[in-house]
């Protein structure tokens, strides 16, 4: 059982860091502890990160020893069997104006454009955590053959729903934003809608598959 290092993040938050490397079993334990800690009276919010977990407290706590002990006990004994995650299919229109970088990825990886699309849509991706903007999922599972560096010059505005590759990660922009990822296509599924419950399509632990809706010219 690997125990986290616990740091104060100011007077009202704690950051629990696991030693590297980040693995799926580590991350599953983090999701389970996050679920459990969210119900503790002194905790107002939980934020799973990559190989770490931040707990945000309702008020400054001086007796950190007690909180720390509770975290470590939970870390050792939490039940992770229920972490299955949901399976989410995301239809994507690959290529064309919404996926202008398929050729760049093809050139970089030495694959054909068709192969890039085929391989990207064949993978199963796991949402490790959500951050950066509402509903933006950091996903693991990109085939290493598809890894492509970000653009040298980030685009000033990427439309909501754009699906791209940035280094060894793949992801979807929930909102229009500037960004440097290589864009493969676009989904029409809303990733973030503040009027819905829950407001985001994806949650930590979800398993994501991209399906080819069509390939645009």
């Amino acid at each position: 059982m690997i125990q986290p290092q616990i740091h104060f993040l100011g007077d009202s938050a704690l950051l629990c860091n696991l030693p590297p490397p980040a693995t799926l079993p580590h991350q599953q334990r983090i999701w389970s502890i996050a679920d459990e800690a969210a119900s503790w009276p002194e905790v107002s919010e939980v934020v799973p990160g990559m190989n770490n977990l931040t707990l945000i407290l309702r008020r400054p706590v001086v007796d950190m020893k007690m909180v720390t002990k509770r975290i470590l006990d939970t870390w050792a004994h939490v039940n992770i069997s229920h972490v299955a995650g949901r399976e989410i299919e995301i239809p994507v229109v690959y290529g064309g104006a919404d996926g202008p970088d398929v050729d760049i990825v093809a050139r970089h990886t030495g694959l054909s454009s068709k192969e890039v699309i085929q391989r990207h849509s064949a993978g199963e991706y796991i949402v490790y955590f959500i951050g950066f903007m509402p509903g933006f999922a950091y996903m693991g599972g990109l085939e290493s053959a598809l890894a492509t560096p970000r653009r040298d010059e980030p685009r000033l505005s990427i439309p909501a729903g754009s699906v791209g590759i940035g280094g060894e990660q793949t992801g979807i922009y929930p909102l229009a934003s500037p960004g440097g990822w290589q864009l493969l296509g676009k989904t029409s599924l809303p990733l973030f809608d503040p009027t819905q419950t829950p407001p985001t399509l994806l949650r930590p632990g979800d398993r994501v598959r991209f399906t080819v809706e069509r390939i645009a010219k």
Partner: protein, 336 residues
């Protein structure tokens, strides 16, 4: 209703924020100076959580369409109601048709950063994810998910307690000694800081500079973060960090060595090393700090941080007690 005649550079509807959704990437946001908004709300008979306006650097003008009551918090920007001066942390009756005007900021004129306006009943825009705050980055909540414009009309909620009678005031947080430690006349702003998780990874020179040098708030600062200027803060070795949850007050140091203090609209996760974290009780001072102000960071411990937080709660309680001691029998005749 409030009609916006001039919005100034950035006025938005804010309450105490939208906690509970960080793990979905949704930041709590809310008023940067929650102490000022809470106090102003109490003074007009609202719950602390009611929505008000956060006005940035004055130059704002609005008209009230009904008889009501308002209170300001934060900086006053020579606020005038139909020409008559209004002091922050006063509860002031307003007549239908009256206009509130805040002056421009300027080198030779009013100084300050943010003004909070509370109105009896609160600003009654729809709640989104449990809050009326405007998320200015994701464009939802508040009034149409955006900063206010000329001509916007904001509905008021029903007042929960009718406070009647002439204006009355309470001491401002600064005059009550809340969070003030050796605040001197040189406009140096003192912030108490807990060492961050990566504090020990910085060089001795960097650690000394953090506490001993003065840090200027550069004009490239906003509701997401305050970018500071001072000596370059170097780490002994540049180990990469994985993305993790962050909170307002975190002082992160990107490769440039120039620190950034995260504010209410910061992203929910970050990956830069954290040399320190400003205590929650001092975040309001940062919300009011004008651009180019100099900061002095002081090391502190958890006990001091808790004490400072309790001092603030005591200040808000003293406002509640002041209100409870008022003669409510006179107020009933104004109830409908």
């Amino acid at each position: 209703m409030i009609e916006i005649l001039q919005p100034g550079i950035l006025t938005s509807v804010q309450d105490l924020g939208r906690p509970g959704h960080r793990q979905l990437g949704i930041n709590p946001g809310g008023a940067l100076n929650c102490l000022a908004l809470s106090a102003a709300n109490l003074l007009v008979g609202n719950d602390m959580e009611a929505a008000g306006l956060e006005i940035t650097m004055g130059a704002c003008e609005m008209r009230f369409t009904t008889d009501t009551r308002i209170a300001l918090g934060g900086d006053d920007f020579d606020a005038r109601l139909d020409g008559k001066s209004i002091t922050p942390y006063w509860s002031v009756p307003v007549l239908a048709g009256q206009t509130l005007k805040l002056a421009h900021a300027g080198p030779n004129a009013t100084q300050g950063m943010r003004t909070y306006l509370a109105i009896a009943g609160g600003i009654n825009v729809p709640q989104v994810l449990g809050s009326r705050s405007t998320d200015l980055k994701a464009n939802f909540g508040g009034h149409e998910g955006r900063a206010l414009r000329k001509g916007d009309c904001l509905p008021q909620g029903p007042a929960s307690i009718a406070i009647a009678g002439p204006a009355f005031g309470v001491r401002s947080p600064a005059w009550s000694g809340v969070g003030t430690q050796t605040q001197d006349s040189s406009k140096l702003i003192h912030l108490r800081v807990l060492p961050g998780p990566e504090f020990e990874q910085f060089t001795v020179a960097a650690k000394n500079a953090l506490w001993l040098d003065k840090w200027r708030i550069t004009p490239n600062s906003n509701r997401m973060g305050y970018r500071l200027e001072g000596p370059e803060l170097k780490r002994k070795q540049n180990r990469d960090l994985l993305s993790h949850g962050v909170v307002p007050g975190v002082i992160q140091v990107p490769p440039s060595g120039q620190p950034i203090i995260l504010m209410g609209d910061a992203q929910t996760t970050g990956g830069y090393p954290k040399i320190g974290v400003v205590i929650q009780a001092d975040m309001w001072k940062l919300a009011q700090a004008p651009l180019n102000a100099q900061l002095q960071l002081q090391p502190c411990d958890l006990e001091q941080a808790l004490h400072a937080w309790e001092e603030q709660q005591a200040y808000l309680n003293s406002i509640r007690e002041t209100l409870a001691a008022l003669d409510w029998s006179r107020a009933t005749q104004y109830k409908k």
